[in-house]
Symmetry: C2
Subunit: 388 residues, 2 copies
Amino acid sequence: MRNASNPNRDLQTTEAEKHQKRSQQMEDTTTLSVTKPTRCIVKLGGAAITCKNDLEKINEENVEIVSSQLREAMITGSSSRKVLGMDWSKRPGKSGISCDADDFEDQNLDSSSFVVVHGAGSFGHFQASKSGVHKGGLNKRLVKAGFVATRISVTTLNLEIVRALAREGIPSIGMSPFSCGWTTSERNMASADLSMVAQAINSGFVPVLHGDAVLDDLQGCTILSGDVIIRHLAAYLKPEYVVFLTDVLGVYDRPPSEPNAVLLREIAVSEDGSWSVVKPTLEDTKKQESSQSDIPKGDYKSFAVRSTYVFYSLPAVETTVAAHDTTGGMATKISEAALIAKLGIDVYIVKAATTHSSRALSGEVKGTLPEDWLGTVIRFVGKGNRNC
Amino acid sequence: MRNASNPNRDLQTTEAEKHQKRSQQMEDTTTLSVTKPTRCIVKLGGAAITCKNDLEKINEENVEIVSSQLREAMITGSSSRKVLGMDWSKRPGKSGISCDADDFEDQNLDSSSFVVVHGAGSFGHFQASKSGVHKGGLNKRLVKAGFVATRISVTTLNLEIVRALAREGIPSIGMSPFSCGWTTSERNMASADLSMVAQAINSGFVPVLHGDAVLDDLQGCTILSGDVIIRHLAAYLKPEYVVFLTDVLGVYDRPPSEPNAVLLREIAVSEDGSWSVVKPTLEDTKKQESSQSDIPKGDYKSFAVRSTYVFYSLPAVETTVAAHDTTGGMATKISEAALIAKLGIDVYIVKAATTHSSRALSGEVKGTLPEDWLGTVIRFVGKGNRNC
C-alpha cells in the first residue's frame, strides 16, 4: 500500500497558522514595492484600438503600430533590434508551433518599466449598457448575464492586446482587475490590491490591465474604467510620465469635429486641483478667433466653466456611441488626467499610431514641448497657477 | 476655472490610512466566507476538453456536452429549462449583438454552488515545456518568453471554456490564478488568496479557474496544475463532492489501452493517507485473471506498491504527449484526488460527456454506487481501512 503523503505542505496547516500566514502575506503586500522605477504608464484608449462604430472589431493597424512604437520606446541603447515574438499560439493553417529558442539570449528590452492599461472601445460597452451593469443589481438575472457578457467581451480584447504586444517581443501579462481583486464601493474604488502588478513588474513583465466589470460592495457590481485604473496605478507606481493614446490629436476646447476647434497644447494643474490652459496663449486664440466671424469671442476661462464641453479629446462620432459609455465619458477622462498631473506626473494625450505618439512614448517630449509635436500635455505647476 | 476635485475619495488618503485600510481588508479577507455551501467542484481535464494530439484545438463536442450537463446539474426543481445564453459576443458574419433581455427574469439556476477548474490539454504544455517555465529561471529571456506564451495559450482556452458555459446560461467568470495572486515557493503553493473566488461565488457566479504559469518566490516561476488548484479550493470551500472529468472511464490498474486493464470502481482512503481498492473485490479480479493466462496473478496491494503505474486514468496516447506535461502527470493527479477524499469529500473520476459524467455531476451517484454507473469514486473511510 502506498502512503499518499501530501507533497504540498500547507494543507496540513491549522486555521490559526493560516491566519498568521495570511497576516504575514498582508504585511508583505504592504511593504512590497517595485524594485525598479516605472518609466511610463500607457493608456490605450478604446477609441484608438478598436473600431468604435463596429462592434467588437479591433483596429488591427493601430494596435500593430502602437505595439511596435511601445517596443521601440522600451529598447535600451545596447538592445538588439530584432523582434523575438512571445506569442507562440498556433497560426491558422499551420499544424505546429515554432519559436526560435536560440535567439532569445541577446535580447535586452527595458520592459519592466512600462505598464499598459486599455479601454474597451467597441468591446464590452454594448453588453454593459444593455444590461445596466454599471448601475448594479446582481440579483437581477439580466444584470448578472450582462456582467458575464461584459467580462467575456473585455477579456477577449485584453487577450488580443496582450498577443499583439507579445508578437512585438514585449513580455506582456494580461491581468483583469476583477481577478486581481479590485472592487468598488458605490462606484468609487474600494480595494485595489496592487501587489500582483508590482510582482509582475519586479519579474520583468509588462502588466496589461483593462476596464472591467467588478463587484461593488453596495450596489453589487459596476464598471471600473481604464482611466480610474490608471490613476490608481500612477499614485502607487509614480511613473515618470503617463501617455493617453486616443484617436484625435489631443484635448480640444470644443468637439474636434467643429471647424474652429483649438487643440490645447499645454494645461497647467495647480495644487488646489484647478487647471488652466497655458498654450496656446489667450493672445494666440484671439488672433485666431478674430479671423473667424461666425464664432463668439471668448477665452479659456469661459470655456472652462462650461463644464459640459470643456475639453474634448474624442471625435464627434463618439457621441453616437456615448449611449453605450458606462464609464463616465469625457469628464471622467479629463478629471483623471488632471489628478495624475497633480501627483507631479506629466500626462500626455496624443493621437495613437502617429509620430507624435511615438515621441511621447519614448519620453522625447519631456521638458520643453517641441514646436512640431502635436498633442496635449497636462502638467502640475505647484502653488502658483501661471494662467490665473 | 473649473475645480478638478477628486470624485474618488481614496486618493486623498495618507499612507497611514492606506495601511490601516489594507489591514482592514486583510481582516475582511480572513473572515470572509462563502455564504452558500458549495455543491461541487468540477475539474474539466485537459484530455477531455482539448484534442490532446492536435495543438491548441478544443474538443468542441465534449465542451458543449459537458457545459450542457453542468447546466442540467445546476438546475433546481422549479427552474425554467430554457437556455438563456450569457455570451453576447458578436457572431461571425453578424453585424450586431442580440440578447433577449425580457426573458431573463424567470431563470433560476442554482449556479452559485459550482466551481469549475480546467486543465490545459494541448494548450500551454508545448509553450511551457519548450521554454522550461516549470523549472523556473525568469532571468533567461527564453523562460520569460515561454511564460508569456504559456499564459496566452491557457487564457485563450479559459476564455473559450467561459464562453461555452455562458452560452449554456451558466454565469461563468474566468479567473486566472496568476491574476488572483496565487504564487508558489519551490513549486509548492505559497499563497492562494481565495477571497475573490469566495466573493464571486457569493455574488452567484461560477468561477472558472485553470492551470496557469505563476511566479515562484524561489525559482522565479513554475506551472501550477489544475489538480493542485482543485485541492486548495476543496480544502477551503468544502464542497459536497468533486468530479474529475477525463477521457477514459475512470482509474485503471494499468494503462487502459492494455487489454486486461481493470477499471477500479471504488478506492478507499484512510486517515493515515494510505489507500486501497474496495471495488472490484480481490475475488472479482482473481476470477477475471484466472481466465487471462498471459497476465501474472496479483492483487491490488502488489499493484499499489508499483508506484510508477499504480493508477491510470488517461489513455496510452497520453504517453506520447507526456514529454510536454509540466504539471506532474498521473502521480500528482491521483495523489491530489486522494488528498481531497481525505478531507471527507467524495471524488468521482469519470469519462466526460457520457451519461456517467452527467450522473456524477448531478450528485445522483452519491452514497451506494449504482451498478450501471461506470467510473471511479475515491472516498474517505476514516480510521479503519476496509481492505487492509
